[in-house]
Symmetry: C2
Subunit: 164 residues, 2 copies
DNA sequence: TTGGGTGCAAATCGTTTGCAACAGA
DNA sequence: TCTGTTGCAAACGATTTGCACCCAA
């Protein structure tokens, strides 16, 4: 995990006169240990694996802090739960492709796409500040062979496949 | 309002052995009277304006039906409430630009964008089925003149500006 | 010391559901 | 008639909040 992110969190806390607590430390670690996205409940579980005494309320409150600090982003994976993505620090403009067959989530980014999007928005008289793209798609493997390796997990679990 | 959409709804109901009821009629009318997007609560209000006896439960149930029928799409406007967009029938690939200053929502679509997106996803081995793009941006007018005509409505109300 | 932080449990709020009465086909 | 449909109120589930106690600075 990129140590610079932790620096930024500490700086953010200081700038707002907020405190560096053990709980915030643990939740931060849990959130950025991998670049997997997660729900609030996922993060509570990851956190409790490190320190079982951490409360759900504090996890929610810390998620808000991390978002305010610009370190975490809420992403729309199309389900009913909110998902959070800790990977925008390393890949600022990535989008999400969701396999409608197995629920796999694949991150991708493309400069041509970013540039075109930027142009269109500017031509409309705006200055882009953030964008979020989600594509749902079927995998060719399933289409051709009638099966998909991850089909068992379909819909319920949205597994992440990291960027390149 | 495009009368063909109503046909499609009726055909959908028939195909599923579902019934054409007065409530579904009224809710449908309320949803497609304009091409404005709405929340469930918005739709309940629009519906009650026509027939005050319609219940919240039926509105929610009918929204699900309209989505299953492919006539209505859930869209992500970034807030906490789910929004629904009845305008994908006339503009199948449109995206949403949200002004971070006044909350205005502007629909747009662009063929270059659609094509590039399609190419990228296919190159990754998938066949695209649906995509959702939301861009947040600041309006130049605010940046230059320090004011924006709709600033008063900032954040809370997300007003819609229709396509072209 | 002191103002922010925490855990707990209760409250909130959008959405779903069980059920008895109702109504298309 | 036979099912699907409705309204109501209760249930649900994710998230937020009030509060008394706790602790970083």
């Amino acid at each position: 995990m990129n140590p610079e992110i932790k620096e930024r969190f500490n700086a953010f806390l200081k700038s707002k006169n907020l405190r560096q607590t053990d709980q915030r430390e643990v939740i931060f670690k849990a959130a950025f240990a991998t670049d997997d996205h997660f729900t609030a409940e996922d993060l509570l579980a990851k956190t409790k694996a490190i320190d079982p005494t951490t409360s759900r309320a504090t996890v929610y409150r810390t998620i808000s802090l991390l978002i305010d600090a610009g370190l975490l982003r809420e992403i729309d994976l199309g389900g009913d739960l909110k998902h959070y993505d800790p990977n925008f620090n390393d890949h600022p403009n990535h989008a999400h492709l969701i396999c409608v067959d197995c629920g796999k989530v694949i991150e991708f980014s493309d400069d041509n796409l970013s540039v075109i999007e930027d142009c269109i928005v500017r031509r409309m008289g705006f200055r882009p500040s953030s964008s979020s793209l989600r594509v749902e798609a079927c995998c060719e493997q399933l289409r051709q062979s009638g099966t998909c390796p991850d089909l068992i997990n379909a819909r319920l679990v949205r597994k992440k496949v990291p960027m390149r």
